[in-house]
Amino acid sequence: MQTPISGGLVKNADAVAWSEVDTQEAALIARCNTGDEAACADLVSNHQRMVYSLALHLLGDRDEALDLSQEVFLRVFRTLSSFRGQSALRTWIYRIVINQARNRQRWWRRRHRSSQVSLDDHLQQFGDVECKTDVLPDRQLASKETSARIWQALDRLPFDQRTALILREVDGLRYDEIAFSLGVAVGTVKSRLTRARQTLRAELLGLRT
């Protein structure tokens, strides 16, 4: 029997349409397709932090992330003429980043795991940007330790689960946007997120005991 509040949960990944691309962005795309170098520079400038950040989270290495970012933008300009506004430009670029990162990480992570960024080093360098000043120091330390353990567990997750969780928690994408970026159905995104969180919750429970 169908409950009265069920049915609205699953969203159609194809629901995104040309309306996802605003006028300004569509004009930028059109200029890029005509070979306008200034427009290309604007497009890179608008998205380079986002691309680099996602690449860094997926690969865990800054040099690799930079190299991947360049490859992603080259790919974007080669295929921009085929972009039909089926999603927001940002989501479309996410999709390219994920595909490129998936191809790289299979072999790269096995060979260069030792040179990946240490989370503790990163936190020492950039600090805890999310912690508020009124939080007690011991709470901050606990949060850092929890975060480090969660990220270690996250690093061990399968690529697709880890990517879905990063897109959701770090980049704040909606389910339908994640589905488009991964090229899967929304239901698949939900199941991947659930499995990933179950694994991380088990790690969290182990940390408490």
């Binding site: 509040i5 999310e130 969660i150 959701r168």
Partner: protein
């Protein structure tokens, strides 16, 4: 009214609740459940803590600093490479296609497989579309086209005309089908040796006046039936094939193919022996009669007579 939901339903939707992906009704229902269910509430706290920990440990670069400058170099590098790619000649691109030869053999194999598959599919398609003369479809098509080459009619057969053409042809007038009429007056038979002969040929005259197919029924030379010489057969075959007819027509003027028995008679006509004319010497000649030698002439020139007859 807030609908009641149990733990089983709530647990299935806790992830979507934390991600704010539920509809308003669902969000309210799960939230009301969390007010009294400590177990589910603890799960939600764990999920929120996981999200917070991930964001806390995020490696996102800050907006300024050395790393931000490094990122800004991406733009310049990309634009340089884009420009370089545009300037790259076609020959260079073509060479680059063969730098990774690992893809060559799979590509060749795939191309060959596709080609073979297409050839097989086309051959199967071709063999299935061939029409066999003994097939039911061919017979039905033949019967549905009276007057065609495969279903010729019989000229002058009024009964058959009435029965078929009242049904298939847009005419209700009575009358028979006209005979096909030879157009070349037998000149094509001049190549056959000059001997008296008779040939009976069963033939079909098509809608365009050609002999569609024929069969030699009988042949006689000089009044005695005998086998045709192979050369005669060849010449007769050539002559029959070159013959042209005005096709048979229905009363409404529609050309139709007809069955025909064609009787070809080749006859040499000679005048009888001249008799001597005796003139009494006492009678003065009134008119000058030419001498007998001048009357006697060579046999008349051979002529070919063509006759047609019908058969049922």
């Amino acid at each position: 009214m807030i609908p009641y939901v149990g733990c089983e339903y709530a647990r299935e939707h806790l992830d979507a609740f934390v991600d704010s992906e539920l509809s308003v009704d669902e969000q309210v229902a799960v939230e009301s459940h969390l007010r009294w269910c400590r177990t589910c509430a603890a799960r939600v706290e764990d999920l929120q803590l996981i999200g917070h920990s991930i964001r806390l440990g995020s490696l996102a670069p800050p907006a300024d600093g050395e790393e931000a400058q490094t990122i800004s170099h991406v733009q310049a590098s990309v634009l340089i490479r884009v420009r370089a790619e545009e300037e790259m000649s076609f020959a260079s691109r073509f060479r680059d296609m063969f730098t990774d030869m690992r893809l060559l053999w799979p590509a060749l194999g795939a191309t060959s497989a596709v080609t073979v598959g297409l050839a097989l599919a086309l051959s199967v398609l071709h063999s299935t579309t061939l029409e066999r003369p003994e097939s039911l479809a061919t017979m039905l098509e033949t019967l549905s086209d009276p007057g065609g080459e495969r279903n010729p009619l019989m000229p002058g057969n009024t009964a058959r005309y009435d029965r078929l053409f009242l049904k298939y042809v847009d005419s209700d007038r009575a009358g028979g089908i006209s005979m096909p009429r030879a157009l070349d007056d037998g000149t094509v038979f001049e190549s056959i040796p000059e001997q008296d002969a008779t040939f009976a040929v069963a033939a079909v005259v098509s809608r365009d006046g050609r002999i569609a197919n024929y069969e030699l029924l009988n042949s006689e030379r000089s009044g005695q039936a005998r086998n045709m010489h192979p050369n005669d057969v060849e010449m007769l075959d050539a002559a029959v094939r070159q013959s042209r007819f005005a096709p048979a027509q229905t009363p409404v003027g529609r050309a139709v193919a007809v069955n025909m028995v064609w009787l070809i008679v080749m006859t040499t006509v000679q005048t009888p022996e001249p008799r001597a004319i005796r003139v009494p010497p006492s009678v003065a000649p009134v008119n000058r009669i030419p001498p007998a030698e001048s009357i006697e002439e060579a046999p008349l020139k051979r002529s070919d007579l063509l006759e047609t007859s019908t058969t049922a």
